[in-house]
C-alpha cells in the first residue's frame, strides 16, 4: 500500500555500496490510478501490505466494455474493466482459468495462465524444406496477439505460448 493505493512492484534494483547500507530502488505501479513511480527504500524497511485476494476464475466473454469471469464452483460472475485487464487482453482464452486480484471486492488485476493455446489466424507460408527454422516469422493469433513462431508452423494450427514472455513454446498437444 502506498498513498492509500495497492501497488504492484514492477522492478526492484538492489543497490549496495561495497561496505555499507543496502537500498532497494523500486519501480511501482499504483493499481488504481495506473501511475508508475520510482522510490528508494533502505533494505529491511517495510510498508503496509495491501489487503488483496487472488481468485481463480474462468474467462467467459467480453461485451466490449467489460470482460466477464465466472467462479466455476459458485457460478458467481465478476466483470473487469479495461484498466484491470490491460495488456493481458491478448492472452484471454474462453474457459481458461485466470488469476483475478480483488481489492475491496473489485477486480484490479487480471493475470492469464502462464501458458495459453491459441489458433494462428494469419502467418506467411514460410520456406519449403526448412523444418528447424532459426529466425522464425510473425504470426497473428485468434486473440490478436502477435508472436514469433518457427517457419514450419502454419495458419490454422494451434500453438502454445508463454504469456509472461510472449514467446512461442511449441505446437499444441492434440
Amino acid at each position: 500500500m502506498l498513498d492509500g493505493e495497492p501497488c504492484n512492484i514492477l522492478e526492484n534494483e538492489f543497490v549496495k555500496p561495497g561496505k555499507g547500507q543496502a537500498f532497494s530502488r523500486v519501480k511501482i505501479r499504483k493499481l488504481i490510478s495506473g501511475k508508475v513511480i520510482e522510490k528508494t527504500f533502505k533494505s529491511g524497511d517495510s510498508v503496509e501490505g495491501a489487503d488483496v485476494i487472488d481468485t481463480e476464475l474462468a474467462y467467459l466473454y467480453t461485451d466490449g466494455e467489460f470482460w466477464h469471469f465466472m467462479n466455476n464452483e459458485t457460478f458467481e460472475q465478476i466483470a473487469a474493466d479495461e484498466k484491470a485487464v490491460g495488456e493481458n487482453v491478448k492472452w484471454l482464452v474462453e474457459n481458461d482459468t485466470c488469476t483475478i486480484t480483488l481489492w475491496n471486492g473489485a477486480p484490479i488485476v487480471v493475470q492469464p495462465a502462464n501458458f495459453v493455446e491459441l489458433e494462428i489466424t494469419e502467418t506467411d507460408p514460410g520456406l519449403k524444406g526448412d523444418t528447424a527454422g532459426t529466425g522464425g516469422k510473425p504470426a497473428t493469433l485468434s486473440s490478436g496477439a502477435i508472436v514469433r513462431v518457427p517457419l514450419f508452423v502454419q495458419t490454422g494450427e494451434v500453438v502454445r505460448v508463454d504469456t509472461r514472455s510472449g514467446e512461442y513454446v511449441s505446437r499444441a498437444q492434440k
Binding site: 538492489f14 543497490v15 555500496p17 528508494t40 533502505k42
Partner: protein
C-alpha cells in the same frame, strides 16, 4: 519455474574464458612471489559489520552433546590476516564468499572473491598493483585516482567530511529522497545513498577510477589517516558503473580493532539485529602482531562481467542462485 532451469545461466564460452582469466590471475601472483592459500569457508565466528549478513548453520559434532553454530564467511579476511600474523608474507586467495540478503544485477549470495595482502605496502602502493592486474585482465587504461571528498564535492556541491546531518537531509530532499531522509538520522546512510546513486554512476566511465580517503566513519578495517583524522586509508575501485574492489591500509592495533567490533555489535543491537560473536582467534593474532600491510578484496565475477561486457552477474557464473 521454467523447464529450462537445469541449464547454466552463463554460456559455455564465457565459462571457458572465465577459466583462462583465473589462470592469468594465478600467473600474475606467481610471478610476484605471492603464494596462494586456502582458508576455511565455515568458521566459529564471523564479521560484526551491521551491513553484512552471514549465513549460519549447525554443526553436529559426533563427540559433543550440543550442536554449535558455524558461519559461512563473507570474506576470507580474518583467516588470511591470521596467516600474516603467523609470518606467511605476501598471500592471495581465490575463494567463494557468502552474503545473505544480497541478490541483484551485481550480487549473488555466493560469489568468487580474490583477496590479497602485501606486507610492507601501504594502500597507495597496493593501488598500483591492483591497477596492473586490472590492465592485464581488461586491457584498459591506467586508472585515475580521486579522493572521496573531491569527487563528492564535484558531483553534489557539498563537502561530505564537514556536512552536518541537516545539510545531508536537505541534499537528499533535493534529489527526491524526502521520505527516506525524513526518518534517517545516520549521516553515513545518507552519504552512502547519495554517493552510490549520484557519484558512482559518473566515475570510471573511460578508465577505472580509484576513490581514496573514505570518511573515517566508514573505515571498516582500515587505518585512520595520521595526516587527516577525518578520513580512513581505505580505497574503492570503480569501472563503468561497477564497484570492483575495496582495499585498506590495514588496521594493526588490536585494542582499536576490538573497540570497532564492540561498536558494530552496539549498532546491531540498536537495529534489532543479532549480535555476532567476536572472533577471538583473529583478535589474539592481531594482538600477537599483524605486520604493517595493505590488502584488497576484488569481486572476480564483476571483473568478468566487465571483461565480457555482461550486464548481469548471472551471465558469468555457471548457475546463479535460483538455478542452484
Amino acid at each position: 519455474m521454467g523447464t529450462d532451469n537445469w541449464r547454466p545461466s552463463a554460456s559455455i564460452e564465457v565459462l571457458k574464458q572465465r577459466a583462462l582469466v583465473l589462470q592469468k590471475i594465478r600467473h600474475f601472483f606467481a610471478e610476484r612471489d605471492v603464494f596462494e592459500v586456502d582458508t576455511p569457508a565455515l568458521c566459529h565466528a564471523t564479521v560484526t559489520d551491521e551491513h553484512l549478513h552471514s549465513f549460519s548453520t549447525q554443526f553436529n559434532h559426533p563427540f559433543t552433546p550440543h550442536p554449535c553454530t558455524l558461519y559461512l564467511q563473507t570474506s576470507p579476511e580474518f583467516a588470511m590476516k591470521r596467516l600474516l600474523c603467523a609470518g606467511s608474507g605476501a598471500i592471495y586467495q581465490i575463494c567463494k564468499s557468502f552474503r545473505n540478503e544480497e541478490t541483484g544485477q551485481f550480487h549473488n549470495p555466493e560469489f568468487t572473491m580474490l583477496e590479497w595482502y602485501r606486507p610492507g605496502f601501504n594502500h597507495l602502493q597496493l593501488m598500483t598493483e591492483i591497477d596492473e592486474l586490472i590492465q592485464l585482465i581488461l586491457g584498459c587504461d591506467k586508472a585515475e585516482r580521486v579522493t572521496y571528498q573531491d569527487i563528492f564535492k564535484q558531483h553534489l556541491q557539498c563537502d561530505p567530511l564537514t556536512a552536518t546531518l541537516a545539510d545531508l537531509k536537505t541534499l537528499a530532499n533535493r534529489y527526491g529522497y524526502a521520505e527516506l531522509a525524513a526518518t534517517e538520522n545516520n549521516k553515513d546512510t545518507l552519504l552512502m545513498l547519495l554517493f552510490s546513486q549520484h557519484v558512482e554512476p559518473h566515475i570510471g566511465q573511460n578508465r577505472p577510477c580509484f576513490v581514496m580517503d573514505f570518511p573515517a566513519s566508514q573505515a571498516a578495517l582500515a587505518k585512520i589517516s595520521s595526516a587527516n583524522p577525518l578520513v580512513a586509508e581505505r580505497i574503492e575501485l570503480y569501472f563503468q558503473g561497477t564497484e570492483l574492489a575495496n582495499g585498506f591500509h590495514e588496521l594493526t592495533d588490536g585494542a582499536e580493532q576490538l573497540r570497532r567490533f564492540e561498536e558494530d555489535n552496539i549498532k546491531r543491537q540498536s537495529k534489532g539485529l543479532e549480535m555476532m560473536p567476536i572472533d577471538q582467534n583473529f583478535l589474539a593474532a592481531i594482538n600477537f602482531g599483524l605486520p604493517a600491510c595493505a590488502g584488497v578484496a576484488l569481486g572476480i565475477d564483476r571483473l568478468l562481467m566487465l571483461a565480457f561486457s555482461c550486464s548481469k552477474i548471472d551471465q558469468v557464473i555457471a548457475f546463479e542462485n535460483s538455478r542452484a
